[in-house]
Symmetry: C2
Subunit: 204 residues, 2 copies
């Protein structure tokens, strides 16, 4: 079966307000996974690379080495849900979705693009990580769907709008991560949402 | 984050033409997982329940106990791709998608509904299985997308059409599995696709 795993590429929001230890652990893990492979890398090595930290410190932040790569899922879900809830009352489903995507796109600065590409290579090279990434994508879609339903958007429209948004975001993220331009992830995401909305309107 | 795992419910095509041993192993595994839990069940117990088979026989059919539950993925991907490729030249993307869904819906007979419900409970109760199920759904969407692109459907329309189809199928499968009516999964899937197509046309 053809598999285009880059479509469930990994998005790591290394937000500036995250505690520094956590961010250092994420970066150390990504470096080691890229250098020597995911399977070969131990939690001790990650903690050590992050500045001589201990395994115990690692486990105060993450349950295992896999979850380092998916640390952003809950925060992204909360940002999406919060922005969708906060969208103006008359906003259409896709306008609310756009507000949600703006909230998560703002987590990324352009100096993180190289890091994003490195991480995608780690994820797409490992079946277990690909499954986890597919679940993350699914969970974010469900978070958006639930937030839209709370606004009164009926089923199945809410799910379709959420799915269109997530698809636009992942597409934009992939384009952005390899783009030499100075456009931000927010620019890419907005354009991608417009393109998908236009393509969806012609579907039959 | 809200999680509605029934949306990635498990679809096991226990096709009538599958070798009997394979089908017996799938049914034995599902029974044991439902009775005593997924984690507590061993490959030896599955093989034994399937009619006194050996572990070795099990491993001739499946790499591990988890994959028993996802045995249909490759076959479903091939059926989807084959039917989409075989759709008449002038068929629209969604007409080709409908042909693909008809091909996989026909794998299920109404006497499999109870089995489907039991399996969904096993999957939704286990994080590892949910991740695997999310990946299966993703892989089927990718298989449809690739088949549509081979017909000349451009990106991003192909992905959107595939996603709409998979969403319609999973929705139909869930409704069908708990329906007391005599309608088939094919009936549910066609109606679901019509509903999603109509909802999609009003998206904005």
């Amino acid at each position: 079966m053809p598999m285009l795993p880059s479509h469930i590429a990994y998005h790591v929001p290394v937000a500036r307000w995250e505690p520094n230890t956590r961010e250092r652990l994420v970066r150390a893990a990504a470096e080691l996974f890229a250098e020597q492979g995911y399977d070969a890398t131990t939690v001790s090595e990650i903690a050590d690379r992050a500045g001589g930290l201990s395994k115990m410190t690692f486990f105060r932040h993450f349950p295992d080495k896999r979850e380092v790569l998916f640390t952003g899922q809950d925060m992204m879900g909360r940002l999406l849900a919060g922005a969708i809830a906060a969208a103006p009352g008359p906003a259409t489903p896709l306008q609310a979705v756009a507000a949600g995507l703006d909230a998560i796109a703002a987590l990324h600065t352009n100096d993180q693009r190289e890091f994003a590409v490195r991480l995608r290579a780690v994820i797409t090279g490992n079946a277990e990580l690909l499954e986890r990434a597919a679940f993350k994508r699914f969970a974010l879609t469900e978070a958006m769907t639930a937030a839209l339903e709370k606004r009164g958007v009926p089923d199945p429209t809410a799910g379709l709008a959420a799915e269109l948004g997530i698809r636009a975001y992942y597409r934009a993220y992939e384009q952005w991560s390899v783009s030499p331009s100075e456009q931000t992830l927010t620019d890419f995401t907005r354009r991608s949402l417009d393109e998908l909305r236009a393509a969806s309107a012609t579907l039959d």
